[in-house]
Symmetry: C2
Subunit: 347 residues, 2 copies
DNA sequence: CGACCGAAGTTACACGTGTAAGTCGTCGAG
DNA sequence: CTCGACGACTTACACGTGTAACTTCGGTCG
């Protein structure tokens, strides 16, 4: 477009050498100028000439060459195995957008990789090919020690993991799911409920999130003599919800905490279809969901839910940056956020 | 872990040279063996030795070095600007998972990049740094000719774009949104409806999807004398839906096609709250959604919706592969899938 | 017996970048 | 006038790969 040699005449790649030729300087000078290391090395006029040449040619540095030279690149890899897809949602999308933006401002390229792998080690191998500065393993099968070691040996400065337990050498990003259960349980118990069902998704890939939530409800119940907690398994289908609702009389529960607003909605609807009343009033079944999705406000009764107040994505990005700059920092657990209850009509 | 020199004693990176030393061969031999070019060049015993050495050392090729040498890498970049996040959803997550898996089997690394950019050209520059084999621009502001040219000059073999119009030089991945409107409109008209509202999201970033859907309804209506189509703007909030429902009597519509199941749900709920009956029966307001989300089945009445039958992600992956192998293929539009109607209770 | 050939490897270069170390005037101080 | 210091660059090397071109060597054929 701004190419003076004509539109089709230049299949030659635009390298820093091309910029150097055009500006009439050496390649090293170009590198110094374009990386801001020119103070006291290159004169102002020359700098301007280099910048102009780069602009005119549409020069883009070759990230591969750069990371080859530097040993590691400026890529931050967000690894979320395709297996863990159910975890995607509006919350995750928002997080992703904010995080990548923040990384971009810090000079990194945040990138999401979702291909599934046969084993943690195989996954680590795939990731290591890109020689990322940091790897943030979001969900899926936890990394093991061997995987972390492989990443570190291939130059990854920081390995972070979500979930309660991080393998040796990796940092943990902690969003204590127990707290979600704790908040929901406390709310229900304060309202006088004593026989609480906890809906767990049938999908085993979500167990890592669901189990601690159940444990949290149990913790809350421990303080109340006579309180009882009952796990209930539910698949993400209408049929499964209908079956569970049919069993309801035998269960004798007066409250439920569902894994998710979606699961809450499934069960709530099935209970209503089976002729049982849902709501906060005594005698009705109290239902609490989680994640505060849009649909929670559209249900009738409106869904009481537990919501994560996540740390701003920027803060996580800065944390990652700090860990990259100081790779020797001892692995630690970093708290990601807290849960609180959003009371509405259903409990 | 399998490192004989001890756990902490090897900060030295594992390169193909290390593998070569260990196997007692030259580096070139390692390269030939590990890339499957060894037929007729390297003996079986030597191949086995090389493979064993690579395994023991945990060798991972350096993608940067590889793409430096090859001119371009094996990365396929899925560009979905953070601005376009509302487009994320279960559908997109499923697509992403399948697509990345398929690419993985073809030897590519599919990667999602979501950082926003000031301009198409700036975005292209960010992407070009990674020297991807192909770029698949999913949503957001359309690429312009300059951006495509920059990518191609930096070695990108194929540039694909969703949406109706692709800039010169780029291939178009076409999911004709008009068809969604066409199907919904035809269904409503066949049921005798003549005054059809079309809900458009207030978010301007979704206009690229919404406008063609509206056009589709108009096309359907053109065949029916007396049919009228009325665009309605709705934000993704309860308040907005309530306001729209309040205006309903003045509008005098007997049917609605909503941009999305979520928007349909918002409006449906607001209409019900305002005391208006929704359903397929004459006299009720007919509502058709889109995308067939889980919530469509959980609403009462159950939501009639339009669903995209997308081409399998594998097929798209293979298309991308073909375009990378033959970069000279003239830009064309590739049809991605078709829409069909899922009749339920609301229309 | 010499020429030729194929198998089995090896040598050597290129890819684009960052940066330490070197060069070459010029200017100021002694 | 000499010498060192300094500004403004350039030279040269390293990073880890892939692959074309070359070597070496045992065997075959004319």
């Amino acid at each position: 477009m701004t190419d003076p040699a004509g539109p089709e005449a230049t299949p030659t790649p635009v390298t820093s050498a091309a910029v150097a030729r055009r500006a009439g300087v050496s390649r090293a000078t170009v590198s110094y100028v374009l990386n801001g290391q020119a103070a006291g090395r290159v004169g102002a006029r020359t700098q301007a000439r280099v910048r102009a040449a780069a602009e005119e040619l549409g020069y883009v540095p070759h990230a591969a060459a750069r990371s080859l030279r530097a040993g590691r690149g400026r890529i931050v890899l967000l690894a979320a195995p395709a297996d863990a897809v159910p975890a995607f949602g509006p919350l995750f999308a928002d997080f992703l957008a904010g995080f990548q933006t923040a990384l971009h401002h810090l000079g990194y390229t945040g990138v999401l990789h979702g291909a599934p792998a046969a084993s943690p080690l195989a996954a680590a191998r795939d990731w290591a090919e890109l020689r990322p500065a940091a790897v943030l393993a979001l969900h899926g099968p936890p990394l093991d020690a061997a995987a972390v070691e492989l990443l570190k040996r291939s130059g990854t400065a920081a390995v972070l993991t979500t979930g309660p337990q991080a393998p040796p050498g990796a940092h943990a990003l902690l969003l204590d799911q127990r707290e979600a259960g704790l908040r929901a349980g406390a709310h229900l118990l304060a309202a006088g409920r004593r026989r609480i069902g906890v809906v767990l998704p049938a999908d085993p890939r979500l167990a890592a999130f669901a189990e601690p939530r159940l444990a949290g409800v149990r913790d809350a119940a421990a303080a109340h003599p006579g309180a009882e907690v009952r796990p209930l398994v539910l698949a993400r289908t209408e049929e499964s919800a209908t079956r569970l609702a049919a069993r309801w009389p035998a269960l004798g529960l007066d409250a439920v905490f569902a894994y998710n607003d979606e699961y809450a909605m499934l069960l709530l609807r099935a209970l209503q279809d089976a002729g049982r009343a849902v709501g906060a009033a005594p005698g009705r079944i109290a239902v609490v969901g989680a994640d505060d999705l849009l649909l929670a406000r559209l249900l009738r009764p409106r869904l009481t839910t537990v919501r994560a107040e996540t740390a701003a994505p920027d803060r996580i990005a800065h944390l990652v940056d700090a860990l990259i700059r100081d790779p020797s920092a001892p692995p630690a657990a970093h708290r990601l956020g807290t849960f609180h209850l959003v009371p509405r009509e259903s409990a």
